[in-house]
């Protein structure tokens, strides 16, 4: 049984229950129960209509629970019988679920957890493992999130930008444990792109595909980081790159530029270069200028300084860097790189060591310490 296929049915099944009048929290629990049942039953007895099976089982689970609850708190609004089959759920329903799970009243961590469960169909345990927290903690986070959105009307229009931020967060988490969150983010973004025609959704999907294409080349067999310029480009996934570029091009043709399209354009220019030396840095700088206009983010200007250093030489890069706050994350790492390119190995080694001290991940710390060590060894011999 294809688990991803099963999980891809989650949002539309959930939407059917909500349309039939089930409240979101109870419906979501019922769909999870139905998924568990499917994993148990389907291998021996696969249904002809997978979605119909899930809707029937989930609805029955919901009614069982509602009946059990009636003793405690009367719930007259639940129709205690098999309803007439409703209209085939529109694609629109899936979109509404994305909006609900990324609702602005939720904190980012709650929105991420709820999206992975209610839209992605992952179990609480899988989500907990992926984020390295106890299952009970994740269960609480999800049930609080469900309570937070319980008053939100399902057909209320939402904001695509909040959904994209949530999916971007999931993608960036990378992967730990059994669940590949990057791949899951791509799957959910594909599904969103099928539900809504929006250039920034396409932009984010393209960005994810172009980054994912390089994943195998990004780490050495011993787990250490391989910088973009040193990656074996033969290990980049050309299929994903081609798909990402095609999606990006048709999004850009709509002439409604946004930050994800601009980021994807930069990723596409890297992907396009057969060798690091052939990278079109001048165009990359132009895209960073666009991006800075769109977001006004200091992190973008930091990355722009690197691109300027490649396009116009390290001195120009250092001049661009001088305009930025030195307390920015990764500022020291960028400064170290530009000073090395400029031939000042002593300053570069000192800055690499400082950058290692401030590194946010163990892999980056090891990488930056190794850079400092490389330059120190060269200076001493």
């Amino acid at each position: 049984m294809n688990e991803a296929l099963l999980r891809s049915l989650t949002p539309s099944v959930l939407a059917v229950l909500v349309r039939r009048g089930a409240d979101f929290a109870a419906a979501e629990d019922a769909v999870q129960d139905a998924l568990v049942e499917a994993v148990r039953v389907w291998p021996a007895d696969p249904p002809r209509d997978a979605k119909g099976w899930l809707v029937t089982v989930a609805w029955r689970k919901f009614l069982d629970q509602a009946r059990a609850d009636t003793a405690r708190r009367r719930r007259e609004d639940v129709v205690d019988e098999e309803p007439a089959p409703g209209p085939a759920p529109a694609v629109d329903d899936t979109l509404q679920l994305y909006f609900l799970c990324a609702h602005p009243s939720l904190t980012p961590s709650s929105a991420v957890a709820l999206t992975l469960r209610a839209v992605g169909g992952l179990t609480t345990r899988q989500i907990a493992q992926a984020y390295l927290v106890p299952e009970a903690t994740m269960a609480q986070r999800i049930s609080r999130a469900k309570r937070t959105v319980s008053g939100v009307r399902f057909d209320q229009p939402g904001d695509v930008a909040t959904v994209l931020r949530v999916l971007y967060l999931v993608f960036n988490e990378g992967y730990s444990g059994d669940v590949d969150l990057a791949a899951e983010a791509i799957r959910l973004t594909r599904q969103l792109a099928a539900a809504i025609d929006h250039p920034e959704v396409a932009g984010l999907l393209a960005l994810m595909l172009l980054h994912h294409a390089r994943r195998a080349a990004r780490t050495a067999p011993d787990g250490s980081l391989v910088p973009l310029a040193e990656q074996d480009r033969g290990r980049w996934d050309t299929g994903l790159i081609a798909e990402g570029i095609e999606i990006l091009q048709s999004a850009l043709a709509r002439d409604r530029l946004g930050e994800f399209q601009a980021q994807a354009a930069i990723a596409a220019l890297h992907a396009d270069a057969p060798a690091a030396e052939e990278t079109d840095w001048v165009q990359i700088v132009e895209w960073y200028d666009e991006l800075a206009r769109l977001t006004d983010s200091p992190v973008v200007r930091l990355n722009r300084a690197v691109a300027v250093g490649e396009a116009d030489g390290p001195r120009a890069g250092l001049a661009a860097l001088a305009e930025l706050d030195a307390s920015l994350p990764r500022h020291a790492a960028v400064a170290a790189y530009l000073h090395e390119r400029d031939g000042d190995l002593t300053t570069a080694a000192r800055l690499y060591a400082e950058a290692a001290h401030k590194a946010p991940t163990l892999a980056e710390r090891n990488h930056l310490t190794r850079q400092a060590a490389r330059l120190n060894a060269r200076r001493h011999h």
């Binding site: 250490s224 401030k358 163990l362 090891n366 310490t369 190794r370 060590a373 490389r374």
Partner: protein, 137 residues
């Protein structure tokens, strides 16, 4: 089984035998060190003794309550002289002797010149839950 914390310090522990800052090693020596640490954790997972391992950023701050309706007081980053924890490994082993044996192996991780660092690690037993068959008097 009993749980122990193996604690590694950035500062505050007695000086190790092979005391060379990491950015003065060769890149290959750094790779060998990282590999040793990864292999050590993987081996403990296989023997069923690994519980958790985490590394901490070197910079942090002191924080304390400052009274009703006031924001907490912070003091940091830490002064240079302070005892500073770099990270830990939690193991679940049969005896104190086994915990010491494993801490000794971890301390043998290679450093400058490919030679063991002989780093001092702190070994601390966890306080456990009260067993059912023990009464408090």
């Amino acid at each position: 089984m009993a749980k122990y914390l193996l604690l590694k310090h950035y500062r505050g522990a007695p000086a190790p035998v092979n005391n060379v800052p990491m950015d003065q090693w060769s890149p290959e020596e750094i790779s060998a060190h990282v590999q040793y640490m990864n292999d050590f954790a993987a081996r403990l997972e296989k023997t069923g003794e690994f519980v958790d391992g985490q590394a901490l950023a070197p910079e942090g701050a002191w924080v304390r309550y400052d009274g009703e309706g006031r924001p907490p007081v912070t003091d940091g980053p830490f002064a240079e002289t302070k005892d500073l924890i770099a990270g830990w490994m939690v193991i679940d082993v049969d005896s104190y002797e086994r915990a010491v044996e494993l801490a000794g192996e971890l301390s043998a991780a290679p450093g400058a010149g490919g030679k063991p660092i002989h780093e001092w690690l702190e070994v601390r037993p966890f306080l456990t839950a009260t067993p059912n068959i023990t009464e408090c008097h």
